[in-house]
Symmetry: C2
Subunit: 194 residues, 2 copies
DNA sequence: CCCATCACTTACCAAATGACAAGAAACGCC
DNA sequence: GGCGTTTCTTGTCATTTGGTAAGTGATGGG
């Protein structure tokens, strides 16, 4: 079984948590494996998984009014896979979280997380910063969706998450970018821009 | 001067904080007036204002690569006006926050907020829920931007924030919706969508 | 190994939106 | 109250994107 090295490293990003503290905190997490195509969360369920990913990719998606499958996010190694609203508000999820390939990570429950927040100031700040970084990333994505043409957004995703493309069908990328698989195909062909 | 009644009420939403506790917490906030067109935050500054709005509307905006003014958000009465990334991460803001009309609200600083989080479990949970609700709202907006045509997004905004339209030029609404003022004008004319 | 399904590409046409420009209306400043 | 600026609308045309459908290649289960 993998050890907690990456998790411990992750807890130290930002410098709020020292190595020995990180090692203690990491003990609260339990190993979690998610098989390919397995669901970490389904719509209607209340999420109770806060998962730091060592390996693998997850896709978040929802169905729109027309029954269309829309990708709302991707999660990869080094990231926390989490449906924020359902997990923190204890409400039924509107989204699905599904493994694109075999995933390996570390999990804690809502109750455990709260106990850690309660007992450890440093971890509380760290937890908040995870939330804030996710918020900021979503805001950037929103701004790019409004200001950048689809071809540019595609190129940015390709540059920032190249490994993702080895594990997900392009149609999932297309709906994440807000376009159809047809348009993405045209963009990839090349003539698209300039 | 306005009293803290609305703020005290707001602190009790969600039921985590009782009336007497809310009254204590509210004492930490100080009255804040923002004149029309005044900036609560400018790009490059580190935000230190966590402001609960009693009255008035604020607009958040950024300039894209082409120097275009893009509206990233609106804040109205009953909401917390806040640039999350700059305030919590103590980093220079990429956005401006400007009053669309005379605003009246209640403010605390980053330091004060942290002290309250530290000393009061209930307020800590409340503060997290403010963040989580903002996150969820942004996610919904992102999904709507991808799945709904501009005409529908316009109608939804009109229904959910009718008062906003009495205080902001339509061109600001247009960039918020991700379209040009020309397109918004055509949508408003009517033929646009069933 | 075969066949059904899925993923991706390509083509054609329609709809939505943008770029640009001109004009009307509202607003604000002096 | 007049004048310049800003806001909003409208028109024309180009571009982007979507809808639909067909076709090819890859994939996977039996």
């Amino acid at each position: 079984m993998a050890d907690r090295a990456q998790l411990i490293q992750f807890l130290q990003t930002g410098g709020r948590i020292t190595q020995p503290q990180a090692e203690e905190i990491a003990q609260e997490f339990t190993a979690k494996t998610i098989g390919k195509n397995e669901f970490l969360l389904r719509a209607g369920q209340v999420s109770d998984d806060y998962v730091f990913l060592d390996q693998g990719f997850l896709r978040a998606f929802a169905y729109d009014i027309d029954g269309q499958d829309i990708t709302t996010g991707f999660y990869g190694p080094g990231q926390v896979a989490l449906e924020v609203a359902s997990f923190f508000q204890r409400t039924p999820s509107l989204e699905y979280l599904q493994a694109l390939n075999e995933c390996q990570g570390w999990r804690i429950s809502f109750t455990q997380l709260n106990e850690l927040f309660h007992s450890r100031n440093d971890f509380r700040d760290f937890g908040r910063s995870v939330l804030v970084r996710g918020f900021a990333a979503l805001k950037n994505r929103m701004l790019a969706t409004i200001t950048e043409p689809a071809a540019v957004r595609y190129e940015q995703l390709l540059r920032s998450q190249p490994a993702l493309f080895q594990h997900t069908p392009l149609k999932y990328v297309a709906s994440y970018l807000g376009i159809t698989d047809t348009s993405l195909s045209r963009i990839r062909k090349g003539g698209g821009k300039r």
